[in-house]
């Protein structure tokens, strides 16, 4: 409950950004906290915020994998936008945004987390480094490699799904 009070809103925002669906983000939030609650009884976790964040990213991309349809019909989204100014409804129909998310989803977990933290959550390299137990320099290099990878994959006429399942950009 403490984590929910402290980071609930942030995690919900993260899930909404990665799924582009408020209704799905709410579902995944529930799944996330039930999971965390179960883990709390059996595991020792040193950094709960980082653990919750990582689990949320995994849940969101697992959901994307399970629901492979790239374009979600707007009418299928119960509450697509938070308000009229929200870019959410537009993004759902934005093919390029969906492609970027799909390509990110195919990264290995550390690279994906670092990249999402940096570019979607706009966190500093120092903060990311602390959560991932790496140096800021390593995180910077990792994010740069991911950007190069995305540029290569999305810059060509090639669907990411035809590529390798996991891109080990970390190494």
């Amino acid at each position: 409950m403490e984590l929910l009070d402290r980071s609930g809103a942030r995690l919900h925002t993260l899930l909404t950004r990665l799924t582009l669906r408020e209704d799905v983000a709410e579902e995944l939030m529930q799944e996330l906290f039930v999971k965390l609650s179960d883990v709390a009884t059996s595991k020792k976790v040193s950094n709960w915020d980082a653990y919750a964040y990582r689990t949320a990213v995994n849940l969101a991309f697992d959901w994307r994998r399970r629901n492979k349809q790239i374009f979600v019909p707007l009418e299928a989204v119960s509450e697509p936008a938070s308000n009229d100014c929200s870019p959410l409804a537009g993004l759902i129909r934005n093919e390029a945004v969906q492609e970027v998310l799909i390509a990110i989803g195919r990264l290995n977990s550390t690279a994906r987390e670092a990249f999402v933290m940096r570019y979607i959550q706009q966190e500093s390299y120092e903060s990311i480094a602390e959560q991932l137990e790496k140096t800021p320099h390593q995180v910077r290099a990792l994010c740069s490699k991911v950007m190069n990878y995305l540029r290569d994959v999305l810059g060509q006429n090639r669907t990411p799904s035809a590529g390798k399942e996991v891109h080990d950009v970390e190494n």
Binding site: M1, L4, G8, A9, H12, T13, T16, R17, L20, E22, A25, E26, M29, Q30, E31, F33, V34, K35, S37, D38, S42, R65, R66, N67, K68, Q69, E79, A81, S82, N83, S86, P87, L88, L91, N94, E95, A96, V97, E99, V100, L101, Y119, I120, Q121, Q122, M147, L150, R151, L154, G155, Q156, N157, R158, T159, S161, A162, K164, E165
Partner: protein, 472 residues
Amino acid sequence: MSKISEEEIRHHLELLSRIQPSAQSTDRAVQRIRRVLTEHKQATKTKNISIWRIIMKSRITKLAVAAAVIIVVVLSGLPFLGKKGSGIALADVLQRVEQVQAFMYKMKTKTTGNMQPGMPSGPMEMTGTVLVSTEYGTKMDMDMNMVVNGTSQKMRQIMYMLPPEKKGYVIMPEQKQYMQMEFSDDLLARTKKQSNDPREFLRQIINSKYTDIGKSVIDGVEVEGFETTDPACLGGMMEDVKVTLWVDRKTELPVREEMYYKMNEQMQTEVVELYDFQWYVQVNADEFKPVIPQDYTNPLPNYKMPTMSEEGAIEGLKFCNQMLGRYPKKIDMMNLMNEVASEFRSIEDSNNPQALKLRERIVEKLGLHGNTKEQMSKLSQEEKTKKIMEFTMEFTTEVMRPVQSLAMFYMTLVQEKKEPAYYGEVVTPTDADKVLLRWKASDNEYRIIFGDLHAETITPEKLAELEAALPK
């Protein structure tokens, strides 16, 4: 697909970073979690977890589940199916054996390693006497001995397989219970070939690459040995296969048959020995009438054997998807059992709603409500054992049956050399156009079960096209 430059990628990421869910949505999510977590904690503390824990950890359950698996594997006549071959000396032996109307033999099996997670980890030995009649069926009286959690556990089972009635019975005297099984025509046709049947043993050797290993003497009888290490003799599904047959040189009838193989990584080895053969024995119908005392109960009156059909396979895939949230990685019997059993072993930690519902349903069927731990503690040892056995039976019906239907269907495809291929590791339930399972239906047709579980018959050319498009 359009090309996207780095500038555009950064722009799209920037757009994503600006998304803010509505305050109502966040509030709704937080409130919902508070409610769910409170309920979740209460449920975890009080309700069915305790019974699940008691039951899943029970030695009897492990024993009985293991037995249930064995029963189905044994009764299904798998993996010892095969067709007549064209060997010369052994073909004569087979011909002779097939003329025998009734015979007896003793059987001994020893399995080391885990059959599947949660099952006995120590060696499991089974010894029994088998009476076979081409007219009436088969009767097996088996004693099982397993080491569970370091303790030896015994169980006796008397099994009847009665093709004329299309029925099978398993009687468990210690538990005062019995099971009755109805066989479909398809399963019956396969079951008639009978598991660990020396005739099938013989056919398998004939069908494979075997060598004459020369003469020897067994119990004073001069014998000639034949041996094969060809994995094809067990349908190509086992590793490190070695099958040896010793034939009486005088009567040209088998004296001893031995089989050794490795089933999977967990189940290290299985050794089967058939010995003390008595050919041409006199039998009467009464010997094949199941003797079930009046106070024995049938905990599963409507139990049906798994179906080895396309429909059964689809039902099994659907069930696995519900339980695992995806298709199983492999569908051979042992790997599939392992994967599903792992899910159920960790069911207490599972958030899968389908798995939780199934757990609830099984526990409800046992008539346990509210504080089940307290209820269980009030039961006598005998009643507790009965309850656990009931659970095992429900588990067998609800969980094992659909899984077994799938695995057994696949096994028959392998054994009938129908070129099956399964792509559960790369195909998901949303892949309506991707091949999940395929097999050869005729010389120029393949039957396909697609990712969304619809089935079609297609040409080899179309299949090649579809398989080329599968993710690597």
